[in-house]
């Protein structure tokens, strides 16, 4: 082994060790009490057999559809990685311009390949009364979404190819951090990009939200409602923004009377929990931990195609990126579950209302058809929240730790 190679391997080992240390520190910065043991939850007592069967049946199709869609994605991109460079003859735009064309065509092919699976999902959700979007509107939305994706991939390729022309194979050293900065910028402005929102008008809920925010050490956080009832009846909420742009977004399907005020309060407290525990900022840190080595892998993988300065490398880079995302998926959903569990705990601590928590999680199964106990493989690959069983178990554990007086 040459000295240079040995030094390279040592640097790689050092970087890997640093990655693990940072990842562990980051992981340990969010947690529920270490002593917490989730008690067993008797699903049969909470749900009827019919409700469980419905949720199982609904989610099984969605999962199979996702699997097939991912297989199609990988297959199509593998072929495109091999043959996509041929489309360079359709360009008169020089190296970078041709790279943009190949990047956009790659996304376009992926969109076409996934279209049947997306269609199947819309059909399935309509069939079960979860989705209400018309096929035409869904298709138009997909087309507009693809336009946005084209713009994004163009911006990303301009950065990567520009850096690769200047820095050669070391573009990732600058490119990775640049994408982290861009992700931070996007997180900051995301609240302004959400369409169809209006301020929450429920005064009681607003007062509760203000109280919860104070209790969780937050300044006054804006609560907005997003109108989604035309597309779906599924309930949801999210915390978005950074610093002064932070806000909680409640889907209007959460406020249509199916959830009690106590249950909605719990959801608000959960989202405030995300903000008080800086989950969006930590999410960016995790993104940096994935993006920088990911950029390095792409730079290494595309060396045989002349590096990222050459348009011929773009189809291969797309394929490598998707493979990396798939490989990182179990870890990513585990991180997300970790955040969600902490937010659940924060919500219980703030509202001190385990009954409301049990009620809202239970309705996620009866209303949104979320399977309370998904199969292990689905849990590992797809579950970005704890299972309903785990979430109800946490509410039960909180009650055990804080028994009602008397």
């Amino acid at each position: 082994m040459s000295a240079r190679r040995a030094a390279g391997l040592a640097a790689l080992a050092l970087a890997a060790a640093a990655w693990v240390v940072f990842a562990l520190l980051l992981w340990r910065s969010s947690r529920v009490p270490a002593s917490l043991r989730l008690p067993k939850v008797d699903l049969g007592a909470l749900f009827t057999a019919h409700q469980l069967a419905r949720a199982r049946s609904f989610e099984r199709f969605i999962r199979i559809d996702w699997l097939l869609s991912e297989l199609a994605l990988l297959g199509v991109l593998a072929v495109y990685a091999r043959r996509g460079a041929r489309f360079a003859r359709e360009s008169a735009a020089g190296r970078t311009g041709t790279g943009l064309l190949l990047g956009m065509l790659g996304l376009g092919i992926v969109w076409l390949a996934q279209l049947p699976f997306g269609f199947a999902e819309v059909w399935w959700e309509r069939r079960w009364g979860i989705g209400h979007e018309s096929y035409a509107k869904w298709l138009l939305g997909g087309w507009l979404g693809l336009a946005g994706a084209f713009l994004f991939v163009c911006a990303a390729l301009v950065i990567v190819m520009g850096l690769a022309r200047v820095l050669g194979g070391r573009w990732w050293l600058v490119g990775g951090p640049v994408f982290v900065v861009l992700a931070a910028l996007f997180t900051f402005v995301q609240p302004y990009l959400l369409g169809g929102t209006h301020p929450l008008r429920d005064r009681a809920l607003l007062a509760d939200a203000e109280r919860f925010a104070r209790a969780e050490g937050l300044p006054r956080i804006k609560i907005v409602v997003q109108d989604v009832h035309a597309e779906t009846s599924s309930p949801n909420a999210e915390a978005v923004g950074l610093g002064p742009t932070r806000r909680v977004v409640l889907w209007d399907t959460l406020l249509d009377g199916r959830f009690t005020p106590r249950e909605v309060r719990l959801v608000v407290a959960h989202e405030l929990g995300h903000l008080s525990r800086n989950h969006l900022l930590k999410g960016l840190a995790w993104f940096a931990l994935f993006a920088i080595p990911g950029a390095w892998v792409i730079a290494r993988a595309t060396r045989r195609r002349g590096g990222m300065a050459e348009p011929a490398a773009v189809p291969l880079a797309l394929f490598v990126l998707v493979v990396l995302q798939l490989l990182a998926l179990p870890l990513q959903v585990a991180i997300s579950r970790h955040f969600e569990a902490e937010a659940d705990w924060m919500a219980l601590r703030t509202t001190r209302d385990p009954a409301a928590a049990t009620g809202v999680f239970r309705k996620f199964t009866t209303v949104a058809l979320e399977q309370p106990d998904p199969p292990d493989w689905a849990y590992l690959l797809l579950a970005d929240h704890p299972t309903i069983e785990q979430r109800i178990g946490m509410a039960k554990a909180w009650r055990n730790l804080h028994p009602p007086p008397g």
Binding site: S91, L105, G108, L140, F150
Partner: protein
Amino acid sequence: MDEHPVRVTVTDDLQRNRWTVFFRLILAIPHFIWLALWGIAAFVAAFVNWLVTLVDGRSPEPLFDFLAAYIRYATHVYAYVLLAANPYPGFTGEPGYPVDVELGRPERQNRWKTGFRIVLAIPAIAVTGALVDGAPYSWNAQANGGGGNMSFRTAGTGVAVTVAFLAWFAILARGRMPRGFRDLVAFCLRYAAQTYAYVFVLTERYPDADPALPEAVEPAPPSPVRLTLEDDPRRSRLTVFFRLLLAIPHVVWLALWSIAAFFALIGMWVATVIAARPPDGLHGFLSSYLRYAIHVYAFVFLIGGPFPAFNGAPGTYPVDLELPGPEPQGRWGAFFRLVLAIPAFAVAGALGGVLFVSAVLAWFFSLVTAREPVGLQRLGAFALRYTAQTDAYAFLLTSRYPYSGPATRVADEQLALAE
């Protein structure tokens, strides 16, 4: 390629009588009434002709002659109304009018093509609409809960009608029809006559959209702003399917460039009015901008195949724009340039409808055959050439007014490919 059996001949001398031009629409009323009555009979005759041709494989001579006379008469009337000819036309469709139609004799026709004639004719009817009456290029889309609901409405004025409107003023002022206008209307009428003949099952030859084909139309006078078309009509289906979305980075870049071009144009205008000559730097900048815009339009409207470069450099795209260098210009002409350009903008707007319709049709055709229809490509290139000449005039890149006559310089290779 064989000559099209439906030809328009132009023997008009461009001279016009101001009085008959002033009252042209009123004078044409008897012809409108007679044309409508004859049209009813022609519709019935065309249906019978379709049935007979479907069975026999050939149009019966009496029906052919009757329908050919109707097409000839309609062309005479439209040429008169649209100011492409001066004399009051006869009511029988007799040959010999200054803008006339020549039709061959009945020929054997394929029964399949005859059977589906009206469906096959839809693209030609759409192009005819854009050329003569108005382009259906405005969409109204709305969605409701139960499903998508799209309506389609006609908007915009056809090229021939727009040109005739402008020509009316020009003739009243000068007593003469501008040659470019006359030739453009003649081209529109030629295409319409070929569409009628196709729909009436007089020929199975599809209407030819290539504007450079009419034999009677003289070559265009030399212009310092020229569009060169050296594109291979073969197309990648994938880049055709995603054409609009692929153009997004160019649209963004063009929009940014347009902001700079706007201020450059103001500077150019002030400098040219003062110095009677555009400054070299601004002229070069606006030339690059216009060339880039034409590259992008060519890509979006499927006239060009490849993805264009972002710099507007000459020689980088198969649909390219040749522009003159800075040259002395009259101060008054420069001062009133935008006002003077209004008629050209009106014609360019009408040709925009043609560009849109031809692009939509070419999109479907290219997706199926992986080839751009050469006629539509050249029609689009013609519309683009006129747009480029208009913009170059408005941007003070040249003092030459745009020429609306249909003639496009086509590279020899392109012609070879087409054949």
